[in-house]
Structures are given as structure tokens and as C-alpha cells.
Symmetry: C2
Subunit: 334 residues, 2 copies
């Protein structure tokens, strides 16, 4: 029964990707055109990370939304490539910031080309992205994107400042993931509303859908850090813990466990490298206190809210596709 | 006689700064407003580097040009702050890329706050800059700025790729410094023409003035690496050499010296850390071959061209101020 449900969901997202394959191929063409820099390193590194198994979820969201709002033309395609460039630039800088060695199971760009090149190619992609958006001549689109990248960098800075801070609250955590992840997904959907000249209620509905979806996406990604196998996720179990990133399962645990347990958890967090038994201890406490379940439930209710926001749109295959993407996010690895 | 000429030039640039003090103070206010981020680290680090003795040459160029073109209003002030943000962001990322310890004689941001924070605050400043420019509602201004930051990051990437490459040509060197330095000064002047609704010939004249000035500025900065004292420059003598940055004096030397001398220079360049005697050997060869003089002369002729470009403007105190800035650039440390 579990297996059949899982298969059905996989089919659904596969169907979605099949249905928008032509749109996604136009976006790929635009991405390749954008990488056509004089600097060969841009093409090489950009190609490496842009072809490194990313799911193109942001361009997919934008193109489905653009079909829903009736204008999946060249501007939507250009903006979809732009959003993917911004995402890629943020991954490159993240990997330098986190001193990451792996990204999606392959060597991270910084471990192949070094920090200097990774920072500079990230800068190139950010600038190129904004420059591409200017080419649409759509002032609101440029405003949304420049606002988005500003908020994203603030989110990353807040996360850095909160690193290792055991007093991080759920609210602070949600603010960080809103900025570092959810805003870009929200903007992808909002941009489709803008190029489709939607009225404010529909623009806000799409932006809200993207925001809730993005929050759920990051909540689940963070929860997976405590549940997934290395091969599946392309990163090690408990990596956030080791880096001092307080995500929702840990924030929940520290809020509900006994004082003695909290002291134990904090003393584990204060050491630099995590032993297997320390990780097992924290995983055990999370299990006993339902901390991972709490984070997953939070994500699931956000996904329900995301879907409900689409009520302002009449039934259509494009609306169904957005709903299928939302369901996929919540079911992908659980 | 030398001393009197020097004093006269110092007075001239001081006069210029005095004359535009009110404009520059408006720019400072705008810079402070732009740093008003929720993330306290942005204010701290942004303030540290933005108040670290920078000469505000780019805002000065923009504000003088805006007076020349007749519109030194709020848009010019906003764009002047934007240009300084972009400059500051590039310095932050440069310092991480170069693993710098000093910047203008004080500890570099990365050595105070670490690479992660420095990268992220640089990202914030880049995004905030573009976002500020969008607030002018001037599509061309945003286009120019996004094109500029793209070219700047390409220049940095080209410089990185050419690092340690003994076959770098003068043409390649000029292309790198055009992108990494001169384009932003050119854009500062061009933006003033754009907000002043200048006809194309005057816009190109100002942009050309800024480009030549920027090329001369970087040429001299690179030549100073072989002539200045540490305290004066805030960085060590021969630092570019140690980092494998081939700048014009060295490119000239490798082009004119004997094969034996070239082999000697290349063998010195191939070691990681430079001995005093190695540096002295290269400085001696540069002296004998007139390599530093060659670079300085190149800069001086660019400054003459920069000034000549202003011929399309009738005589005015603002035109005189731009000429004084050009003279200051070429005389500042020689």
C-alpha cells in the first residue's frame, strides 16, 4: 500500500515534467546562452553546477505558473533562466561559506576549482541574472528580483550569525529559511503573475503558494539531514548539526526535553566534530520527543496551505500541475 | 620646485572635494540609509569598510558629472551611493579571493570577520546596490549597472585565469583592468549623463573620460606596487608579484629584456614566497629597462586623452573639477 502510493506520486511529478518538457527545454537553451561568457571558466563551472543533477524546480514553478497566467512566452523563459542563475550563484557561495565538499553527491565546485574561482563565478551569475531580467524591460520583474537577492543574502547572514546559537527560536529559524530559500520560489511564481498581468489577488496567491512551498521544502530538507542516507541526499547525516546549524528538529527538541537532556545536547553541540554515538544520542532524543515528526507535520500543513492558496484560480491542468509539485515536495524522501 | 608643484596639486583636489562637500554628504546619508539592514553584521562590516579611508572617488566623479550635466538631484545621489556599494562589494570579495590581510593599511574585513561573513556581506551590497538603482525607475541606469557588475566579475575571473601566466600580453592586461576597475568609473560618469538626459556625444564623452581615468588609475596603482612604501600604500611592496599578478611593468620587462634575464625573472616568479634579493633583482631590471616609467607614461597619456574627451563641454567650474580629478589621479603618489 505504501509502495503503491509512492509509485503513484513519482508518476505524478514525472507527468508534470513531461507536460512542461518543451518549456523546460526553452529554459535550458536560455541558460546555455547566458553562460556564453568570454571567460571559459564561467562556461565550465557554470555548466558543471548547472548540469549537476539540479531538479530545475524553480524554472518549473515559473513555467507552470506562466502557463496558468496565460503568458509562457520569451519573457517567462528568460526569467526562468534568471531564477535558476540566482539559485546556482547562491549554491556556489554557500559551498564556499560552508566549506562544503559535496553537492548533490558530486564534488562541490569549490573543492574542484577552489574558493576564488567559485566566489567569482557566483558573482558573475548573480550579475548576469539581474542583467538578463533587465532585458525584459519589465521594471517590476527587475524590482522583484533585486529585492529577492537582497533578502536572500540577508537570510544567509542571519543564518551565519545564528550559527551555534542554542537559543535560536522557531520564529528566527522560519525567518532565515523564508529568506534563504522560500523567497526565491515565491518570486519565481510571482514573476509569472507579473508577466501574465494578473490582478493583485492572483499575484499574491501565486507568491503565497511559492512561499509556503519553499518553506516546506527547506523544512523537509533540514529534517532529512537527520533521516536520509548519505547516498540518497548527497551529503552526510547530521551535517547541519556538525556545522552548528540549528534547524527545526533540534529547536523543537531543545524546547521540549528535560534540562538534563538539554545540557547533554548542548555539550554535544559545543564540540567540533561529532562522534557516531553523539549523533545517535541526539537522534534517539529526537525520536522520543517526536521532533522530526513535528518538523515534517509543520511542512505538511504548509503544503496544504500552499495548495489552498490556488483556490482563486479555476480548475485547469496547470493548477493541477502546481498541486502535484506541492505534493511531490512533501513526499519526495519521506 | 617639486614640493611646490605637489602642494598645488593637493590643494586642487582639496578644493574639488570642498566644492562638492554638500553633494558628498548627501551621498554619505544615502550610504548610511542603504546599510540599514536587519542584519547587524551588514551595518558593522559595511560601515567598517565603507569608512575605512576610501576616497569616494566614484561618487565624486558621479556628482561632479551630474553637476556638469545639470541634474545633481536625488537620483544622482542614489546612484552615487549605488556605485560606492558596488565598489565596496568588489573589494570585500577581492580580499577573500586574494586572501588579503590588509586593506588601506587596516586589517581587511576577511581577516576580522572571516571569509564566510565577508562573502555574504559582499553579496548583500551587490544586491542592495542593484535594488537601489531600480528605485530610480530609470531603466537605462539599471541596465548600465547590471552590465557593469557582469563585466567586473568577468574581469576578476580573467585575472584569476591569467594569474602566474608569463605569456600575458599588454592587451590582455588592459582588458582585465578595463573590466575590473575602469568600467565602474566609466559607468559612474555615464550614469550622470543618463540622469541629465545628455545627447549621445556628451554621454560617450563622459563615459570615455571615466574609462581612461579608470585605466590610468589602475595602471598607476599596479606600478605603485613596485615603488611605494608599505605605510603609504597600505599593502606590501611586490605583493602583485608574489600573487602571480602580471601587471604592466612586468609584462613590459619580459617583453624587452634578454632571454637570460627573462629566464631569471620567470624562475623567481615560480617560487611561492619572494625573497628581498629576488624583489631587488626584478626592481633593478625594471629600472634598467624603464619598465615602471613605461607604465607611468602609458597612464599619463590616458589622462591626457581623458581630459581631451571633455572638449565637447563648454568651459565651466564642473569641467575644471573633472580635469583636476584627472590630474590628481596621475600625480597622487608619483
Amino acid at each position: 500500500m505504501e509502495y503503491r502510493a509512492y509509485r503513484a506520486i513519482i508518476m505524478t511529478i514525472t507527468d508534470v515534467i513531461d507536460n512542461y518538457r518543451a518549456d523546460l527545454e526553452r529554459v535550458e537553451g536560455q541558460i546555455q546562452a547566458g553562460l556564453d561568457s568570454k571567460a571559459v571558466l564561467v562556461r565550465k563551472m557554470g555548466g558543471y553546477i548547472l548540469q549537476g543533477g539540479g531538479k530545475r524546480i524553480r524554472p518549473l514553478l515559473l513555467m507552470i505558473s506562466a502557463n496558468l497566467t496565460g503568458n509562457p512566452g520569451p519573457d517567462a523563459v528568460l526569467l526562468a533562466a534568471t531564477v535558476e542563475f540566482i539559485h546556482t550563484a547562491s549554491l556556489l557561495h554557500d559551498d564556499v561559506v560552508d566549506e562544503a565538499e559535496l553537492r548533490r553527491g558530486q564534488s562541490s565546485a569549490n573543492s574542484v576549482w577552489g574558493n576564488a574561482a567559485t566566489i567569482l563565478v557566483g558573482d558573475y551569475l548573480y550579475s548576469k541574472a539581474l542583467h538578463q531580467s533587465v532585458q525584459t524591460g519589465n521594471h517590476r520583474a527587475v524590482d522583484i528580483l533585486s529585492r529577492t537577492t537582497t533578502a536572500m543574502s540577508e537570510g544567509e547572514i542571519l543564518q551565519l550569525l545564528k550559527s551555534g546559537d542554542h537559543s535560536t527560536t522557531e520564529e528566527e529559524y522560519l525567518e532565515i529559511i523564508e529568506r534563504k530559500t522560500a523567497i526565491l520560489m515565491s518570486s519565481a511564481c510571482r514573476l509569472a503573475a507579473v508577466v501574465g498581468n494578473m490582478p493583485p489577488d492572483k499575484e499574491e496567491a501565486l507568491a503565497g503558494y511559492g512561499m509556503d512551498l519553499g518553506l516546506a521544502f527547506q523544512l523537509l530538507d533540514d529534517a532529512l539531514d537527520y533521516t536520509a542516507e548519505e547516498a540518497k541526499l548527497g551529503k552526510s547525516l547530521g551535517k547541519d548539526l556538525e556545522e552548528g546549524k540549528l534547524t527545526l528538529p533540534l529547536i523543537h527538541l531543545l524546547g521540549v526535553c528535560t534540562d538534563d537532556e538539554a545540557d547533554k545536547v548542548k555539550s554535544i553541540l559545543s564540540v567540533d566534530s561529532l562522534l557516531k554515538e553523539d549523533l545517535d544520542c541526539i537522534l534517539g532524543l529526537m525520536h522520543d520527543n517526536g521532533s522530526i515528526r513535528y518538523a515534517v507535520d509543520r511542512a505538511k500543513s504548509l503544503i496544504e496551505r500552499a495548495k489552498a492558496r490556488l483556490d482563486v484560480f479555476p480548475p485547469s491542468p496547470h493548477k493541477d500541475a502546481l498541486i502535484a509539485v506541492a505534493d511531490f515536495v512533501v513526499e519526495r524522501e519521506m
